[in-house]
Symmetry: C2
Subunit: 147 residues, 2 copies
DNA sequence: TTTCAAATGAAAATTGTTTCTATTTATCTC
DNA sequence: GAGATAAATAGAAACAATTTTCATTTGAAA
């Protein structure tokens, strides 16, 4: 009887270590973007010896495998923060509570077309990220602290 | 008789130092994205004592003032690279020659609309960046080296 | 010219990430 | 279930980009 995460790791040819599973749990539980350090802080109580390099390595592996995705912090310091595991789509990121909403705007195909027709070249990838304040945070104005 | 760059700096309440002017010249001349270090390397022949912190400080100031813009390197290491000075628009970035083309796709407004109608919250900013290979680099295939 | 805030250089500190190596662990095979 | 083996890990150290600090210099306003 394998858990969801064990099956995922298996399919990526990654071993099911307790730490990896715990990382996936954290990312799955909290639907906010988390930095490598955030994840490390959450897990080092449970795993006294967990090191940041391990967190980085595993995030890298999980990202390569397409199990998680990442977004770019729009502030000066552009470290990357991670979450989610669906197919390619875009993100609306709340700068206050860090919650990430998927953006499934129907203009996607038109955008692609427009972009492609205006560019003489090959598109390899694109980044679309919308930064703002979510509905909930807008209401409790004043407490907004963008980090 | 003030030069273009002197007028720009003046309008931002930044002093017209030779180094700032030279930085603007470099960015204006080369229509490719440049890292702080790139700019530093280009200028330290002319200014023996130019330090990287000065380059960082000035880039920051020029960016804040809206005189230059920046793009995000899509590789793992997301340092930022800079260029251009037009109004808000998007970029097609050649991963090989570093050239940046402006993308003025007409679906912009539709995108904005779509995004806004799908999101309950306030949009503060967005990043749209298309990474690929430009027409010229596509032709001389094989020499492509993404850095 | 004098004055003063802004800009700068140089060194050091900070921060985020990666590498290295010896040890441990998950999984495969019997 | 008990080895065998390659992958995963901890811990320390290295690394790279950026920022801070502070004493000195410089641009531009009076």
């Amino acid at each position: 009887m394998k858990t969801k995460f064990e099956r995922i790791l298996r399919s990526l040819n990654l071993k099911s270590t307790p730490k990896r599973i715990a990382m996936l749990e954290v990312l799955d539980d909290e639907q906010v973007y988390l930095s490598p350090e955030d994840i490390w802080l959450r897990l080092k109580k449970r795993f006294r010896t967990l090191g940041l390099p391990t967190v980085y390595r595993n995030l890298e592996g999980l990202f390569e495998g397409g199990v998680i995705s990442r977004v770019i912090h729009p502030d000066r310091k552009l470290y990357y923060y991670l979450c989610r595991n669906e197919e390619h789509h875009h993100h609306f990121i709340c700068m206050s509570c860090r919650r990430v909403e998927d953006v499934r705007f129907c203009a996607e195909r038109e955008l692609q077309e427009a972009v492609r027709s205006g560019i003489r070249g090959k598109v390899l990838s694109h980044i679309l990220q919308i930064n703002g304040l979510c509905h909930a945070c807008l209401k409790k104005e004043g407490t907004v602290h963008v980090s």
